[in-house]
């Protein structure tokens, strides 16, 4: 059997290769099929200048429709997976993720309020970020206050409670939203969707995601120590409080950016880090890159399938939930059998 440590380069190379194939596939398929060579020519011309020599509409499909959508799916998948991996170490709990902790709901409420007020994308992001921080703060505070013997269960249940409170807030936002303009947009976006990914909005979300991932990467070894008990981590010389705060802010920023771009897409943040750890062991220096790659590939595969399988587009959030819920039950059973 191969060691987890040595499996990593192979696994990463495999996922990245799959990712490249998925990207190529995603660019060519859809209501308007584009030949792979035309995709390359359009992208080449737009990146390095020059004329692609393609018909206007073909170029528009590649550059204006597919490229932002592919970029958005990759970024959202990677961001949610990275945030999930970070939260899991942070809470020493393999069953948490941005959606289970209620962070995604907090981000969605913040973003929903900003949409209601017709604010620009940067403000939607900021509101989502603040909403997410409030949600995770509440989860930590309530979880600590309850205490209890089974911290894993306490945290999961607290996340459910906080998430449903924010869910009620979202319902209220929808209730007061303008039923002709805002309500369909908010509802659609809450289901999780990449249809709204516009080229001009992308930098505002990609930059914060890149920033949070960079912070998590720099702290990768410290984040391993966070997975130990608090006494152990502190006795090893880690300033646990400060480190937790930094990691929470980074993971929540990534979640908020993903949510403001594509709504609440659940389960990716839970399942992807699990898959990564299963392959390569718990070391965050390996889990983070592998999670980013798997998350991006998974999200793009789901979104591409959603827009090509049927005549009408399926919301990707619905598909991830159909995949995620049974997988969660399996993980839950495994976690409890292990701690019993």
């Amino acid at each position: 059997m191969m060691l987890p440590r040595s499996r990593f380069p192979l696994a990463l190379a495999g996922v990245v290769a799959a990712l490249a194939i998925l990207v190529a596939w995603s660019f060519t398929v859809g209501r308007f099929a584009v030949a792979p060579s035309d995709v390359v020519r359009a992208l080449w011309a737009s990146l390095f200048g020059g004329e692609s020599g393609l018909a206007r509409n073909v170029e528009a499909v590649v550059l204006q429709v597919r490229a932002p959508r592919v970029a958005a799916a990759l970024a959202v998948g990677a961001a949610l997976a990275a945030a999930g991996a970070a939260y899991q170490n942070l809470f020493r709990n393999p069953l948490v993720s941005p959606d289970i902790l209620g962070v995604a709901a907090g981000c969605a409420l913040g973003a929903g309020i900003a949409v209601l007020a017709s604010l620009p994308i940067a403000a939607i992001q900021a509101f989502a970020f603040v909403g997410g921080l409030i949600a995770v703060g509440l989860v930590v505070a309530i979880g600590t206050w309850i205490g209890g013997r089974d911290p894993i269960l306490t945290l999961v249940l607290t996340g459910v409670v906080v998430g449903s409170a924010f869910g009620a807030g979202i319902a209220l936002v929808k209730y007061v939203a303008d039923p002709y303009n805002q309500l369909p947009a908010i509802t659609f976006w809450l289901l999780g969707s990449f249809t709204g990914a516009l080229p001009r909005d992308l930098p505002a979300t990609l930059i914060p995601i890149a920033l949070s991932v960079a912070v998590l990467w720099l702290l990768r070894w410290r984040i391993d120590v966070l997975a130990l008990s608090e006494d152990e981590a502190r006795s090893l010389g880690v300033d646990v409080r400060r480190l937790r705060l930094v990691v929470i802010v980074a993971a929540t920023l990534a979640t908020a950016s993903a949510v403001s771009l594509a709504g609440t897409i659940g389960w990716v943040g839970l399942l992807v880090p699990h898959a990564a750890r299963l392959v390569t062991g718990a070391a965050f220096a390996r889990v983070l890159p592998l999670s980013l790659a798997i998350g991006a590939a998974f999200m793009l595969a789901v979104d591409t399938a959603c827009r090509t399988l049927f005549a009408t587009e399926l919301p990707p959030g619905v598909v991830t939930a159909f995949i995620g819920t049974p997988a969660f039950v399996v993980l839950l059973a495994a976690a409890f059998r292990r701690s019993a």
Partner: protein, 265 residues
């Protein structure tokens, strides 16, 4: 220069667990901390590690109050060996030991070749080098405890504080951990070792501290303090220290819990 407590009161704000503790941990000695459940052993140890602030009196490291030490410098002097617990995170044994190098690296640091070599050497010393790449939850309880001792060695700290390292281990693994603690002493470390087994203290302790109700019942050289009278008072039950003659003629003291008087017929 050592870790010492002077007239220490420990516990939590609003809940004093113990008081009036005077202790010192000289290099090259094993100090055993004995006490019944709830006597405050763990809280005392956490206070000595600087994880819980002292309520009154002081804990000093090299003559300087522990609270004044920056976390990383303190961690490079005081190593903690907790009870091995189940974890959901599958670090390899080697990665677990490498974490002992945390205090020697910056916030953005990662273990380098030297750290890896040192971690491997610690595993070697504890004879668990073949387990290096095994996931930490797929080794036995005794091996996991050894890995935590190896991690404490990797910190290069002069003081090693072990919180009931033999709890939850079978008889053979308990003996193994005791042997390794004794070997650690030979390398000049100051060791604090808490345990529920007076026999463990009889086996390896140079000095013994008996804690009851948060106060020191008796403290001193193991040979003097570990007697039937003190142990009976410590546990509130009749306890007898007897001498057994082992095969080959060597003599060892061991501890036996006697029947309580009211149960005698």
């Amino acid at each position: 220069m050592t870790l010492a407590a002077r007239n220490l009161d420990f516990g939590f704000p609003g809940r004093r667990v113990g008081s009036g503790i005077d202790l010192a941990f000289p290099a090259g000695e094993v100090v055993c901390l004995l006490g019944p459940n709830g006597s405050g052993k763990t809280t005392l140890m956490r206070t000595l590690l600087g994880l819980v602030p002292a309520l009154a009196g002081d804990v000093t490291l090299d003559g300087r109050p522990l609270a004044d030490w920056p976390a990383r410098l303190r961690a490079a002097r005081l190593a903690y060996v907790p009870q091995a617990a189940e974890s959901h995170f599958d670090f390899s044994v080697l990665e677990m030991v490498e974490m002992g190098r945390t205090a020697h690296r910056g916030v953005f640091g990662v273990p380098d070749a030297a750290d890896r070599a040192m971690a491997a050497a610690c595993l070697e010393r504890l004879h668990i080098a073949p387990l290096a790449e095994r996931p930490i939850h797929r080794v036995s309880g005794g091996e996991r405890q050894l890995a935590l001792i190896a991690r404490a060695m990797a910190t290069q700290a002069a003081h090693v504080l072990m919180d009931e390292p033999t709890a939850n281990l079978d008889f053979g693994n308990q003996a193994l951990i005791l042997d390794e603690a004794a070997r650690l002493r030979e390398s000049g470390k100051a060791i604090l070792f808490s345990t529920h087994h007076p026999d463990h203290a009889l086996r390896i302790a140079d000095r013994v501290v008996m804690l009851r109700g948060g106060r020191i019942l008796a403290a001193g050289p193991a040979g003097e303090v570990l007697n039937s009278e003190n142990l009976s008072a410590l546990y509130g039950r009749p306890v007898e220290v007897a001498e057994v003659v082992l095969a080959g003629g060597s003599r060892r003291r061991t501890c036996v819990a006697r029947e309580a008087p009211d149960r005698l017929t």
